[in-house]
Amino acid sequence: MTAWAWVRLCAASCLLLATPVAVAQEPFITVASTTSTEESGLFGYLLPAFTKTTGIQVRVVAVGTGQALKIGERGDCDVVFIHDRPAELAFVERGFGIDRQEVMYNDFILVGTEADPAHVDGGEDIVAAFRMIAETKAPFVARGDDSGTSKAEMRFWKEAGIDPKSAGAGWYRDTGSGMGPTLNTAAAMDGYTLSDRGTWLSFKNKQHLTIVVEGDRRLFNQYGVMLVNPQKHPHVKRDLGESFIDWLISPDGQRTIAGYKINGTQLFFPDAKGSPS
């Protein structure tokens, strides 16, 4: 075979391989959501049930809450499903989102190494624990990516009256990455970090990390869903997006959320208004 024959063969096989790219699609919506819902495995469990009921495929782009809102603002998704109530309300206020519904909650936990250099293990006061970490200059690994978890962390530092970014001394490490990579970093440097419980439970590289603070009322973590405003972005699939939101807050959807467990532990607690649970 000559070189040109090979080139033609390669070209033909490339085109053949590329054909699935152009295949006609079933009805689908694009949902911008958080890494916590994807990495915890919730979507892998939840979405097939929705698709089975409605025939609508859901394409999830899992990013930090800040980036998810940006994707919605630019009209690059139909639905936004995140966990930062103040930012969500502002998003609706500015006219980018409509029909916001609260869907479920879980909670944040403070994770640290078993050696516990800041002596915070067993505490129930997250702000006091943050103060202890700052005082002892124990390593703290921060998300720093404008995610819902990152914003919650910044609220706790503010309540503690500490500005960790100007604290110096190198104990506060801003990684600018998702929850999983941040947990990987914390595991590697025996640091503390704030995590959502869902990602923590499904995380497989825990090493010496363990939960040190949980149960504080302020660690409550509410998830909300909303449709991108079709008046701002006319291509938004309003009907399909609304059926997704309606299903999430329906008894059926809420039951499915409650049914997701890892090793018998429930990860998310449905709390849509009017839901039976």
Partner: protein, 234 residues
């Protein structure tokens, strides 16, 4: 050592299981990267050859720009294509964001300069050697370029392979424009990034081993083609 052993076991189990998800991810990776490299070759090879042959004011600057673009960070290329294809961007009405097509476009942007730059160097060497013949014959530019590309075809495989290496290995650009959507835009590299995030390091490295094996197979095939064809040509 357990991690590495675990990765080998994970890779082996994945391959043996014939998991349809894995097959989907592998074939998407291959089709995106190979399509991108094909298109980038169509752009980059003639562009590189033309740069080698033509003499015009600003040629040096053009060569420097093409060479520098080899170092284009994937994240920047991804961001550029994202803003281009976003609904709020100039090509938003096409609705291409978060599709495999968007990933192909981003990789073409990344790979074309690599193929063009390497091709420019290879063709220029041939050009310096045979320039007088072409000029004596009064050959047209198009004929000169295609004739030089044909002369250098064995060496130019390296240019294409360099481009393929970049396309198959990068994650930054396709993560931004593809969104790593399960079953739609999840490729080998974005799946590796996701499994690392989930702390499943063995599975992540296992996927990496499979990706590396595929790259190895493609390069071995190219080497085989080059050897047999060169033998036939001599």
């Amino acid at each position: 050592m357990n991690d590495f052993l675990g990765a080998l076991v994970a890779a082996w189990q994945l391959v043996l299981s014939g998991d349809p998800t894995l097959i989907g991810i592998v074939s998407l990776s291959l089709s995106v990267s190979l399509t991108a490299v094909l298109l980038a070759s169509v752009i980059g090879l003639p562009l590189g050859a033309a740069l080698a042959v033509l003499r015009f004011p600003g040629r040096n600057a053009a060569v420097v720009v093409v060479n520098a673009l080899m170092g284009l960070p994937p994240v920047v290329a991804g961001l550029f294509v994202y803003l281009l294809l976003s609904r709020s961007g100039p090509l938003g009405s096409l609705g291409l964001l978060f599709t495999p097509t968007a990933m192909v476009i981003a990789q073409v942007v990344l790979v074309s300069p690599i193929i063009a730059a390497v091709a420019r160097q290879i063709v220029e060497d041939f050009w310096l050697e045979y320039r007088d013949l072409y000029i004596l014959d009064g050959t047209s530019l198009v004929r000169t370029v295609s004739s030089l590309l044909w002369l250098g075809r064995f060496s130019l495989i390296t240019a294409v392979l360099a481009g393929l290496g970049r396309a198959a290995a990068e994650v930054g650009a396709i993560l931004i424009v593809g969104g790593n959507i399960a079953g739609v835009t999840r490729t080998m590299t974005t799946a590796i990034a996701l499994e690392t995030s989930r702390g499943d390091l063995s599975l992540a490295l296992g996927l990496g081993i499979i990706l590396l094996s595929l790259t190895l197979a493609i390069n071995a095939t190219a080497q085989f083609v080059r050897n047999t064809d060169r033998a036939a040509a001599v």
